[in-house]
Structure formats: C-alpha cells, structure tokens
Symmetry: C2
Subunit: 362 residues, 2 copies
C-alpha cells in the first residue's frame, strides 16, 4: 500500500464489481463476464480498462446507452460468417459470444468471420484474441468508433484510432497477443500525462485549433501512427466494420448529425454516448498444420527473437503481450493497486447503488 493506492486482492475487487453489475440489471452470467473483463485488464496492468471505468459504466447504463438486458440476435449467417445485432449490449457480453461463434465456425470450415454491430465498450482487445488462441486458433479483432484521430493531411478528427488485436497460440511461451490502436499513442498515455501534469511530445496530437498539443489537457485530436498508414487502416476498418453493417460511426459525425468523440474534458464526457461495431475472426491452425508443430515453431521464433542484439536503451526484447503476462503473474498473488481517487469513485457507486463495498476497505 502506498500513499496513493490501496493494494487489493483481485477476488475482493471481483466480488464488488460483480455486485455492481448485478445491481445494474445484468443477468448473473453477464455480470460475471463484464467483471472478468475488468479483472483481465487490472491484473495485466492495463488499469485504464479496469475498475476505474465502473462509474462510467454505471452512468451509461442509467442513461440508457448501455443495455443490461439486450436482445442479441444473429441477423445474417453462413457456415463461415455472421452478423450479430448487439442491441447496445455491454461489449464483453456480445463479443465473447462472437469470439465463441468464430471458433465454432472455424472448427467447421477453417475460419469464422463475425461482425458485431451496435455494441458498447469492450475493454481490452487482448482478452478476445487470447480467448481464441486458447482454442489453438489464430485470432483477430478490430473495433470501429467515432472519430478521434486526424486523417493524414487533416488538422481535425476524421477517423477513429480503431483498436486492433491479433493473436497466435504458443506452447511453452504465453500466446502472442498484440493489442494496439492506429493512433501513434493510445488515449491512456495522454490521460496519464494529464494526471502527472507532464507535457507531451509533438506528434501525439493536436489542439482544438489544429496546432500541436504540448499540454495534454489541450489535446483534442490524436494523430495516426505512421501518417497515411494508421490513417488508412482506420478508414478501411470503418468501411469493413461499420459501413458494412449499416451502422456508420464516422460519416454522421463529419456530416454534423452526431457530435465528435471528444478527447477533451472528463474521461466520462469523452466516452459518453458512444456506440461501436467490431469484427472478430478465428482461423483454425489444425486445418493447415499440426498444432503441436505450430506451437513449437512459434516458441522457437520467440526464443530466437529474444536473442537478437538489443537496441540502445533496451535490456530485453519483449513479445506482444509479454509485459501484461508479467503483471498478471505478479498481481494474481500480490493484489491490484487501486489509486485512492479510483477508490473514492467506487465508494460513491456503492453508496448510490446501495451495494456492499469492497471487502476489507473501510
């Protein structure tokens, strides 16, 4: 325990989180799914996607944006693809279903390519592609949201910074789990700089006037990774995930029919009224190659990569997802540090909803 954080056993955080979501009206199983998503993030050091979000989920459920009892329906289906209407479901509830459906289809015909329309916040992408890798399959997911990133050549938002997840199953090593955004930096890094009162480098984002934001509080628009590369990927993802399912998220904002996905102001304000679409994919390794041979090759590839000469300033070469796995091993035993500001927000939720607070926290 430090001055600024309580270190809590994950089980106690889990139990409290589940109580909140049950109270919000989610069926027990869905409350567990949502809770597991937040624990997945906190245990892996991705605290921006953990319990800190609970007050925002509460607000969005109470104002009708997140639907605790959605009517999730499959509206298009073939042996290989499906379109799922999520009815503003909590992201993890419908995305786990989509991932499992992708795995089932991949088992039958080698691939499952599932589009999900009209869902809400999903947490980390890593959890879904890990879920798929656990079935000895390669996983892919990308998500579409409202614009928060400047297209290459523009000084204001016009694309999202679509999170992308990719996975491949390993044997001795943890699965390879890439979880990235198409902006140069994710919004989490900007929020950390805001909290610390630090300035940010040119290239991260722009202010309301389209000038480089040095003060992270002035950042209104993110910049794409690699200029036309990140920008182009985002535009194509919107076409593949949103236009494809008649739920465009960029065009209505650029046409003035919907407000932008602002990055200024409070975290809650920034994300409010959001709506998303995603594509979830599984490919069955065993269709193409012996699974054990595949995993052994991935293991060896990891071994050899970690032996490459190190760049200046690097003591080791980390694989995608490796840092998060280390946090997981540590926090599973030692507990999850929760900043006192976050604790205060959670306490308010407990009071407002009249649910029992985190065990052992006064």
């Amino acid at each position: 325990m430090t001055n600024q954080a309580l270190v809590l056993p994950w089980q106690d955080l889990h139990d409290f989180t589940k109580r909140v979501f049950v109270r919000l009206g989610l069926p027990e199983q869905d409350a567990v799914t949502e809770t597991d998503t937040l624990m997945w993030a906190n245990l892996r050091g991705v605290d921006s996607h953990g319990v800190v979000r609970i007050p925002w989920y509460v607000e969005n459920t109470q104002n009708g944006i997140m639907n605790p009892t959605p009517d999730i329906r499959v509206t298009v289906e073939t042996p290989a693809i499906a379109l799922i209407e999520a009815d503003r479901a909590f992201g993890p509830v419908v995305t786990n279903q989509a991932a499992d459906m992708a795995v089932e289809k991949a088992r039958e015909v080698g691939i499952g390519w599932i589009l999900v329309r009209n869902h809400t916040h999903q947490g980390t992408m890593g959890q879904y592609v890990q879920r798929i890798a656990n079935h000895d399959m390669v996983g892919m997911i990308f998500v579409c949201s409202r614009p928060n990133t400047a297209p290459f050549g523009a000084s204001a938002a016009g694309v999202s910074n679509n999170p992308l997840g990719l996975s491949a199953p390993a044997g001795r090593h943890p699965h390879l789990i890439l979880d990235m955004a198409t902006s140069l930096v994710a919004m989490g890094k900007v929020l950390i700089a805001r909290e610390r009162g630090e300035s940010i480098p040119v290239g991260w984002g722009l202010d309301e006037n389209g000038d480089p934001a040095i003060d992270p509080r002035a950042l209104a628009t993110l910049l794409p990774v690699g200029g036309p590369k990140g920008s182009g990927m985002s535009l194509l993802f919107e076409c593949m995930g949103s236009v494809m399912v008649s739920n465009p998220l960029v065009l209505p904002v650029l046409s003035g029919e919907l407000s932008e996905g602002k990055t200024t102001g409070s975290h809650v304000g920034r994300m409010a009224r959001h709506n998303q679409n995603c594509v979830v994919v599984a490919i069955d390794v065993s269709r193409f190659v012996d699974v054990e041979e595949y995993k052994a090759q991935v293991d060896q590839l990891i071994d050899r990569l970690k032996e490459r000469p190190k760049a200046e300033g690097f003591e080791e070469i980390l694989m995608p997802g490796e840092r998060e796995e280390r946090f997981y091993a540590e926090r599973l035993e030692a507990g999850i540090p929760v900043p006192t500001a976050t604790i205060a927000g959670l306490r308010k939720v407990a009071n407002d909803l009249n649910v029992e607070f985190i065990r052992g926290v006064a």
Copy 2:
C-alpha cells in the same frame, strides 16, 4: 522526354515485357498476367515495382528461383478457406488465382480466406485488393518475407516489413486502396535517397552496427512503424501466413540456416533467393448490406473527409490510392517515363534473350 528518361506509350512497354516473359518460358496467359502487374505499377507511378524489375526477374528465372511453369495445387480446401502450394510461381500468376478463388468463396459463404505458400515476388499489393474491390467486395492481403526490419527493442533484423493491402469498393470515387508496409518507410524510399545521394532521417533504419543510418547506402535494417505496433503486426503476420503453412521465413534466418534478406548492396542482390507466403481475403458486401447503399456511403465518407480542415503543409487530403489513380489517368495518355538507366538494363535483357526491343526505341 527529359535528359534522364524516355517517355514511352504503355502499350509498347507492355508488348516488350510480354515478349520477355514468353521467352522466359511462361505460358502466354501467365506472361500477360506478369506484364499487367508491371504495367499496373508503372502506370500508377509505383515505378519501383514496374519494368525496372525485369532484369531481376530474368536472373531469378534463369537461376531457378522463380518458376515459369509451376505445378500450382490446392492442398487444403473448405467452402471458406484454401491453401495453395505455389511451387515458386511468379507472384501475380498464383495471387490472381488466389484472389479469384477468394471472390468465388465469398460469393458462396460470405468470405474467402486463401493462404498461398512458396511463391515469389508479387509486385504491388494494391492490384490484388483492387481486383477484389472490382467484384463489390472488401479485400485484404498481407505478405510474409524474410526479415529486413528490427523487432521493437532490437538493433538488427528479426521481422519482415510485411506489405499489407486493404480495399473497399466506392461508387463515384475510385475504390479505397491502401497499400502499405509495416516499416516506417518502404525500401523504395531508401533506394530513391541512395540514387539522389541524399541523407535519410533518424528513425528510418539502422546500419550494420545497429546505429542509426543517416547515409542510405549504410542502411542494413529498416525500423518498424510505431515501434511495437509495426513490429507486432509483422510478427503476427509471420505466424498467420508462414508458420501456418509450414514455410517459416523468419525462424530459419534467425537460426542461421538461411541468410538475411539484406537491404545493402544492389537491388538484385538484396532480393535474391527470396521466397514468400501470403494471405488473400475477400468479403462479400452484398451479404451484409445493399451494395449500392454501401458504395454511396463510402463516397459520402470520402467527400466529407476531403472537406476536413487541412494540416499545415497540406493543400488537400488524399484518400488511400488516390495519388496512384491520378498517375494512372495521366500516364495512360501521356506515357510512362522510363529512366535511361532502366532502358539500358532492358536493352541488355533484349540482347541476352534475343527478343525484339521496345518499339520505337533506337
């Protein structure tokens, strides 16, 4: 015509190129396919992937690396996926087949996901995803090659800079065609700097010692776009495209069983002995949404994006593939400028193979 280039009608270049590939032993239809690939690039201003490559194709055919009469076989197939053994085919010959197969499968079950193993150089990625977009489908392709890029944290090569293509069909506008590599810059930009004797910025690549290369001739290893992002995508692409089909291209190099894909030395030397795998994907728009509605939405999205406020130094906001479309419109009429050094290389090929040279060139 300038001091340094002849401007030639594309038809004359086409006819000469076809004569070369027929003489190399490609069946007439395959010679046309390969020729069309080089014309596609030259007409669109991607001269690094045009006729300048002909001497290198000749050398690689004569030394047995590129197979003019491959035994292309489908070795795994379901309604949605396939694995094609390319038998060292010329890239375009087998990749067009793969793209057409992806389209056929997408027509039947919504998606076609085709893996191609053991092929050779494909030219630009844009041509394949454009081919798919022409069928009112969304296209994706990524390619695996030997390592030429430093994984994040390393000072020597350990991943490829896997070219990636994505497309979405438009209506009034040209289709959206993204064609990118996972390195910060493609090797073509380094080669141009070498030709011009210019220095290159820190961040593009490293020299043999792992230090930043300022002199482009010293560049031995490219750097990934966005650090762990480009690096992670490349590693996962290798796992999805190469390990998946038992034709790893990174591990044998890192294990010392194969030499690296050097970026130093001559262009021919750099690419010699190469071997590739790729994944080609088509998704049928009409399974999910009315095609005309889809294209109208993409058109409107493009219109609105181009109206966004411009960043400093930009007079307009270009869509992925738009610059290439402008070259195409211009060069189709005005001809293709071919540097005199390239002409000299082609003349040597004509003499060596005893084929008629480019019409009208003395």
